[in-house]
Amino acid sequence: MLAGIQTKSIVRRTLGKLALTLFAAATAFAAPAKAEDLTLWSWRQEDKAAYAKFIAAFRKQHPDINVKFEAFEAANYNTVLSTALAGGTGPDIVQVRAYGTLGVGKPDYLVPLDKAMIPEFANFPDSAIAAETMRADGKLYAVPFASQTMLIIYNKELFEKAGVTPPNTWDELVSVSKTLKEKGINPFGNGTATAWQNETIVGALLSSQIGKQFEQDVLAGKADFTDARFVGALTKLNEIKDYFAPNFSGVDYAASQQLFAAGRAAMFAGGSFEIANFLRQNPKLKLGLFASPVAKAGDPRLVALYYDGGYAINAASKNKDAALKFLRFLGTPEFGTAFSNDLQNISPIKGVAFENPLLKEVAALNQSAMSYIMLVNFRYQEPTGSVLLQSGVQKMLAGKATPAEVGAEITKGIATYYAPFKK
């Protein structure tokens, strides 16, 4: 009898708990999401803590809007995102890539933006705005967040030891490299075994020689990659390959980074994203930066620039007004400053105050930039300009192709889809 009562009461208690849980779950599902709850999707899992700070700063101005940051693995992000968008779901605010289709496939998934909706677009350079414009319809869809710069990073101590200073012209670069090599220092840490490194090498070393005018002519259909400006620059690159890492054709990306970070090479032709990398591997490094050397003194010095991506609004979002408020915040110099200093990245927003002197230097170099030509202009159809340039330069530096052949091969590949190159 006693046992019976006990069992009963246990059953009742358990059932009671179960009902409570069910009720809680039901209300959670049934309650309409608060109008001011926004979700933000990103492929930058490592930035979670920084975004918590940014969102807290935003909430000081808009206490009624809450933003939830959700990050996915970078490699799967595009798949996860395009699947969600195609199904009419997904977050309110989407971190999208730059150029082409912004990584989402079709324009219909996002809300087109303009300066009337987001006056903060005035804070961005034209190249940043162009990066978040979709190729299919020429409309602007996102507030840009970071730029990457191709330049040359050098080891100040090794330069001092060899008694050389950063070169201005190509000839000076050659003589600096020669001096370094004579003093037993590897001039460049770069290797070519990893395909994409060949594209960064071209952007970092040759932009000043290729020039903005060449890019404009290519886009206007007035020049192709057999042009003397492009082939001539490749010829110059071919002439200094002996100053790369020993046996550079077999040196991959990781090994070339190690050479430079360990202080065993004086220069590294690469992206601004390497700076944080190098300093993490070897905090004692004293780094300096310079833009690609010019053919002759007086020519404009250029770095190659591209944008990583931006923040867009999901067309299926139910909270577009709140999302717009958040996007406006993401275009302010306060956000740009916090973004740059917390994430050690370069925000393209005008008026950002950089704490890190190297980032400040990169931002200054960005004032005279051309685009990272293949990624920006020819990565929307196969064979992409990047694929062609990477394998072409890899082949040229291995001594298996001439600069003219590389130029012709790139032109032929792009001509399969780019009308001005079809003859």
Binding site: P246, F248, Y380
Partner: protein, 310 residues
């Protein structure tokens, strides 16, 4: 009464069989058959990255086999796979056979060797790939240092950086990783040969080489059927090792590009250079699957016939 019992028994039996068969069948349908069919259907559509477009029939297949940009890459990758298959047959299966014969004769320390030969097989490909990438590093890799020590410094090469040596270097790394598997299969095969046959051959005056080529090799044909078929499938599905050691582009400039890399790059896009193109990627996957299935069937049928003939 009797039939009633039988019926009940039969029903119980049927239920029991269904219980055993249905779950694995469901798993096979969901995770094997359905993905295969959906890949097949996806190959007939145009894709903008991950977004499905309209039905275009066999165009994706025609593109990858004969299209201006794709065909060159497809056939180049195919030739590389053929090379890999034949090269691995020599340096992996044949060496595996010789090792099996060596161990079968139980030389001093054969127990140790039997374990040592099989050991790399249980290592993960990622590990083997990184290890060999380090060994083959042109500046501080073990191989070049070893050449220096042996006084052969002029044979130093940037192994993975040049067209002529990159693919053979990958084949070698793969053979090191997998040689234990054919060795084990052949060892089992040799051990199944009745001792009397080998003794009779010896009495008839067979020398070691004749014994190996005229007696043992024909008698282990069933083992060859297994290892050759698996090698063929492995060689044409080759992906992990070249991906780790040469990258998605088959560096340098496509000289290590094989169908697996090419398919992956086409379908899922290379973050640092290319685009996602599900249509052409799926067409490639379907073609690869059909080719491998067809040839593997032919190889098996042919070798099985030979087994019977012997």
């Amino acid at each position: 009464m009797q039939t009633d019992y039988r019926n009940r028994e039969r029903r119980r039996r049927a239920a029991w069989i269904a219980f055993l068969i249905l779950p694995p069948l469901a798993i096979m349908l969901t995770f094997v058959v359905w993905p295969l069919l959906s890949a097949l259907s996806a190959a007939f559509y145009r894709w903008d990255g991950m977004a499905q477009g309209e039905f275009i029939g066999l165009k994706n297949f025609a593109d990858v086999l004969f299209g201006e940009h794709f065909a060159v890459l497809t056939w180049r990758a195919f030739r590389h796979n053929l090379f890999v298959f034949f090269a691995l047959f020599v340096v992996q299966n044949s060496v595996g056979f010789l090792l099996a014969w060596f161990i079968y004769r139980e030389p001093f320390g054969f127990r140790f060797h039997r374990v040592a030969i099989f050991m790399p097989v249980i290592l993960s490909t990622v590990l083997v790939g990184f290890l060999w990438k380090l060994f083959l590093d042109p500046n501080f890799g073990l191989i070049n240092q070893f050449l220096d020590m042996a006084g052969l410094g002029n044979l130093r090469q940037p192994w993975l950086g040049q067209e002529t040596t990159a693919l053979p270097a990958l084949v070698l790394a793969n053979a090191w990783h997998w040689v234990g598997f054919p060795a084990l299969v052949y060892l089992a095969g040799i051990q199944r040969i009745p001792r009397e046959i080998l003794e009779a051959a010896k009495l008839d005056g067979c020398n070691g080489w004749q014994m190996l080529t005229r007696v043992v090799w024909p008698l282990v044909t069933p083992s060859t059927t297994i290892t050759l078929t698996l090698l063929f499938i492995g060689a044409f599905n080759w992906f992990e090792l070249p991906y780790i050691m040469a990258g998605l582009d088959g560096s340098p400039y496509g000289s290590t590009d094989v169908l697996g890399l090419y398919f992956y790059r086409t379908a899922f896009g290379n973050q640092s250079a290319g685009l996602q193109d599900f249509g052409h990627g799926n067409a490639l996957a379907v073609l690869m699957f059909m080719f491998i299935a067809a040839v593997a069937t032919v190889i098996t049928q042919y070798l099985r016939k030979r087994e019977i003939a012997l």
